[in-house]
């Protein structure tokens, strides 16, 4: 029996102006697994997620979601997307509850249609699950970074997607909250397939099934133990690693946990 793949990219190329961001990316992410896409800043992680969500159309190559065309999958509501929390206008007049409700919106919404009882109940459950219930009336500017991150995850979960894509979900979050978020995501497996772009390698070993190393190209992909060569190939310049505060050594130690 062959493995079922949730996301398959074939020979994807993306460039902005003259600058090649993604080069000849061919990679498959297995269904019902938690996969990490790691790489340095500017390595194309966000771009790759945006290609998978259809936000960026590649210059060439194709994207398939469960053997379906990307646009079909998107219109079916199969995709959940958690963008980087830092990009938001925190002053926007919207409440926590409204953010999560907005995740339940259907494509073909009838005029004057209000949220259904089911959507409201679903939103309540998500708020409860994420520990946000008492914050539901808050405007998003009144949240901490970690709380906003959970709200954005909640919004992506509201439509019960088949695939959840997260962009740096643990950036600027303390270790405890970070572990909570990873644990929460881990519990969604195997109903969901989860793809996380991160440069935070400390969490990778214990939670992820597969890892893809991305720096313009896919340097490594799989579930075998990572080699120093792959890491070097991905990050190239060690300055990036130091900038993120993750020395090589830490990652190698984690490898042991990674095996089981």
């Amino acid at each position: 029996m062959g493995t079922k793949y949730a996301v398959s990219l074939t020979k994807v190329n993306v460039s902005f102006e003259d600058f090649q961001v993604l080069s000849d990316i061919t990679v498959k992410f297995p269904a019902s697994e938690m996969s990490a896409i790691i790489g340095p800043n500017g390595g194309g992680k966000t771009t790759l997620l945006k290609v998978i969500t259809g936000l960026i159309r590649p210059d060439s190559g194709s994207v398939q979601i469960f053997d379906k065309d990307l646009n079909k999958a998107r219109e079916q509501g199969w995709l959940g997307y958690v963008p980087q929390a830092a990009q938001f206008d925190r002053k926007f007049p919207i409440r926590v509850e409204e953010v999560i409700l907005s995740g339940t919106l259907k494509n073909h919404l009838l005029p004057f249609k209000r949220y259904s009882q089911e959507d409201i109940q679903n939103t309540h459950d998500i708020l409860n699950q994420l520990g946000l219930l008492e914050l539901k009336k808050r405007q998003i500017g009144q949240l901490s970074g970690g709380q906003l991150q959970r709200v954005l995850i909640g919004r992506a979960l509201a439509k019960d997607p088949k695939i959840l894509l997260l962009d740096e979900p643990t950036a600027s979050i303390d270790t405890q909250t970070k572990n909570q978020i990873y644990q929460l995501l881990h519990n969604l497996i195997p109903q969901m397939t989860i793809l996380i772009a991160t440069h935070d390698m400390s969490a990778i070993s214990s939670y992820f099934d597969t890892v893809a190393c991305l720096n313009k190209k896919i340097h490594y992909h799989g579930s075998d133990p990572l080699t120093q060569k792959a890491i070097d190939g991905t990050f190239g310049c060690p300055v990036d690693l130091i900038a993120h505060g993750v020395p090589h050594r830490v990652f190698q130690e984690d490898e042991e946990i990674y095996h089981d």
Binding site: E17, T53, G54, L55, R74, E75, Q76, G77, L79, G80, Y81, P83, F88, D89, F92, P93, I94, R95, E98, V99, L101, S102, G103, L105, K106, N107, L109, P111, F112, R114, Y115, K137, Q139, G141, R155, A156, K159
Partner: protein, 275 residues
């Protein structure tokens, strides 16, 4: 003034226009402020001048010309923005003055005496005709209906258009539609305060309302009410003091804004108590 309203149709027209324009200001102004499209709106307004000139030259209603030009420029900005990497800011600058230049050219080409452009540049609510009024009424109803009917979709789109796209919404259509709505409301406002002053009317009521609420729906309603109160007061003052109404309304808006800044602290504490 009550007597004048009862006796003169132009006063009735002016009053109705002020009320309807305030509704548009409240709704579209909120979108413009939240999406930071203030300069874009200024550009669209000035481009409309070309359409007004064209109307005079070819002999059709100038307000229709304004409608075509502002709608056209808004769609143009959206599609150029999608296709090229030209800075939106730069593009607005180019459209802004091109529209004005076209207007001047068309008016120069018009036969006979040059028409009075001041009422379009600075607004003159007292010259609003019945025809203008019907056009404005149509635009206002359309705007309100579209926003109210799909409010939750607009909220999601305005907050995060990328996420809305990923969950399957047609955000491309909404992009175009939003700019079309902005263009339509600018045409309404040109009759009230004129091309040059339009930005203040679009942004100030929302800026004041923002001090008192952080709920998008309430922000729209409150901005509309504030706009209504101020533009009617401005109209009344201009009637008695015999000052141009557009200028009077804008000055009142500015004064109210600064007043609200001073009042902010007291209001904020009372709001918190309620919550």
């Amino acid at each position: 003034m009550i007597e004048a309203i009862l006796n003169y149709q132009f006063m009735q027209n002016a009053l109705l226009t002020a009320i309807m324009a305030s509704v548009v200001c409240g709704i579209i102004g909120t979108i413009v402020v939240e999406k930071k499209l203030v300069m874009m709106s200024g550009g669209i307004a000035h481009t409309a001048f070309g359409g007004i000139g064209l109307g005079y030259w070819l002999g059709f209603e100038p307000i229709l010309g304004a409608l075509i030009f502002s709608a056209g420029s808004s769609l143009l900005i959206t599609s150029i923005k999608r296709k090229t990497n030209t800075n939106t800011d730069t593009m607005i600058g180019i459209l802004w003055s091109t529209g004005m230049a076209l207007g001047i050219l068309f008016i120069y080409l018009s036969p006979g005496y040059p028409p009075d452009m001041a009422s379009y540049l600075f607004g003159d609510i007292l010259t609003v005709t019945r025809f203008d009024l019907y056009v404005i009424l149509g635009l206002v109803l359309f705007t309100v209906l579209v926003i109210v009917a799909f409010f939750s979709k607009w909220l999601s789109y305005l907050f995060d258009d990328e996420f809305s796209f990923v969950i399957g919404m047609n955000t491309r259509f909404m992009d175009y539609f939003m700019f079309l709505l902005i263009a339509l409301s600018i045409v309404v406002l040109i009759r009230v305060v004129g091309i040059i002053l339009v930005i203040a009317l679009l942004t100030t009521p929302t800026a004041i309302a923002k001090r008192f609420t952080f709920d998008l729906k309430r922000l729209m309603i409150l901005s509309s009410l504030i706009g209504m109160g101020i533009s009617l007061t401005g109209l009344w003052l201009s009637f008695y003091l015999n000052i141009p109404s557009g200028a009077m309304i804008i000055l009142l808006l500015a004064a109210s804004f600064f007043l609200s800044t001073l009042l902010k602290k007291e209001k904020k504490t009372s709001m918190n108590k309620k919550n």
